[in-house]
Amino acid sequence: MVVQVIILIVGIYILGGVLFAVPFVIKGVTEVDEGTHGTKLGFRLIIIPGTIVFWPFLLSKWIKSNKKHD
């Protein structure tokens, strides 16, 4: 039972990561790290697994960088 609940939570977390990864690798990544301007598709693809795992951290970074620009 406990195992099922943990797996469900992890599953939801990863689903959130997958949804977040799409806009992030297209747009967000260049706002978070200026070194990523003009990077090619290969680089964007290679950071997807990490984005899915660390998405809450990257989301907060993205929000912060947006506030800075405003």
């Binding site: 070194g35 990523t36 090619k40 290969g42 680089f43 693809l45 950071i47 990490g50 795992v53 660390f54």
Partner: protein, 353 residues
């Protein structure tokens, strides 16, 4: 360096390195398969795959973990470290095949979710010989996964070097989990003592290497420098340092690298901005101090990476008096230009006396 990212940084050396890894892995799998088929022709494809990938991943893990201390014991091993990340990602992929097929083979026959089955089918945590060893392997694989997906420099910069390094230090926990996974798994059910022998030799070699390297480094860090004058500390003789190389001294909290190049001495922080590599163990290439780990470069007189790169390290005052080298351990802000100390002909000639 950090001007702009690429998916994979391949140059000639790294390509050689990667082809070597690929050739080694494929020949290992081929030899393992042939030998098994000779001695056990009835073996199933899944079993063969699970066993060959498990042993290969374990072997690679031992190689990976021995590279660090080997470079600290002897500089000749630095080329191995240069592309260690590719070796790490390769090891994860092989271990992942082992994990995936083990779950398929052992946990997909029932009507329970395979991952749930992995954790619930055996709950004898109080037993040694029947311990749920598969869970240990699973957690080790999760650590390797996290390391593999963050192996790009993008993650080093964005997670911060401190978090990144901490995450990657978990490899030692993963290693311990893998060792226990083997000890409580295959060793409990196989008759062949070769598994135990290999594991004892492998872990014994790793422990010895790490302890030898670790104690050597601690000894270097704890060397006391007694001669002090006006906040300068005497560290060595000017002739102790080779041309285009450095010597390192731990005067305060962290090591300082004193480089000799182009008739001058320069003192800079020993810590590379990329991954904290030991700059003092590198050499001057094309007029730049070059980190032995991944080739990050800094100009000796100001600690700045040549444009377009932006890394900067601290610089220090250094002077020479009667062929003795004196360093002031108080750092200047990162990237501050310092004149260095000019080596006069007299000081050079003393070498031949």
């Amino acid at each position: 360096m950090s001007a702009s990212y690429q998916a994979v940084l391949w140059n000639r050396q790294k390509k050689h390195y990667d082809w070597l890894i690929f050739a080694f892995c494929t020949s290992y799998l081929a030899v393992f398969t042939s030998v098994t088929l000779v001695y056990n022709p009835q073996v199933t494809f899944e079993t063969l795959l699970i066993r060959s990938t498990s042993t290969l991943a374990l072997l690679l893990l031992h190689v990976i973990l021995s590279i660090g201390p080997l470079t600290r014991i002897n500089k000749k091993f630095f080329p191995l470290l240069y592309n260690r990340r590719h070796l790490g990602v390769t090891m994860f992929c092989i271990a992942a095949v082992h994990g995936l097929f083990s779950i398929l083979q052992f946990h997909t026959l029932g009507n329970v979710n395979p991952i749930v089955s992995l954790f619930t089918s055996n709950t004898r945590f109080d037993s040694v010989s029947a311990f749920p060893f598969q869970a240990l392997g699973f957690f080790a694989l999760v650590i390797f996964f996290l390391m593999a997906i963050t192996s790009h420099d993008f993650w080093l910069h964005n997670l911060s070097p401190k978090v990144w390094k901490t995450l990657h230090m978990f490899v030692y926990l993963a290693y311990f989990l893998v060792v226990m996974h083997v000890l409580l798994g295959v060793i409990q059910y196989e008759t062949n003592p070769v598994f135990v022998i290999i594991l004892v030799l492998g872990s014994g070699a790793l422990i010895t290497l790490h302890l030898v390297a670790g104690f050597q480094e601690t000894k270097k860090d704890n060397i006391k420098f007694h001669l002090q004058r006006e906040s300068f500390v005497m560290v060595c003789d000017v002739n102790d340092i080779e041309e285009d190389r450095a010597k390192m001294f731990c005067l305060d909290k962290e090591r300082i690298a004193v480089y000799k190049t182009d008739g001058k001495l320069f003192a800079v922080s020993n810590v590379c901005k990329h991954q904290n590599g030991p700059l003092g163990e590198g050499k001057v290439i094309d007029g730049c101090i070059t980190c032995p780990w991944h080739g990050y470069q800094y100009l000796p007189h100001n600690g700045q990476s040549p444009p377009p790169f932006k890394e900067r390290i601290s610089t220090y005052d250094v002077k020479i008096e009667e062929s003795k080298v004196w360093v002031n351990p108080v750092p200047y802000p990162e990237g501050t230009e310092r004149p260095g100390a000019i080596i006069t002909i007299n000081q050079k000639e003393e070498m031949f006396v």
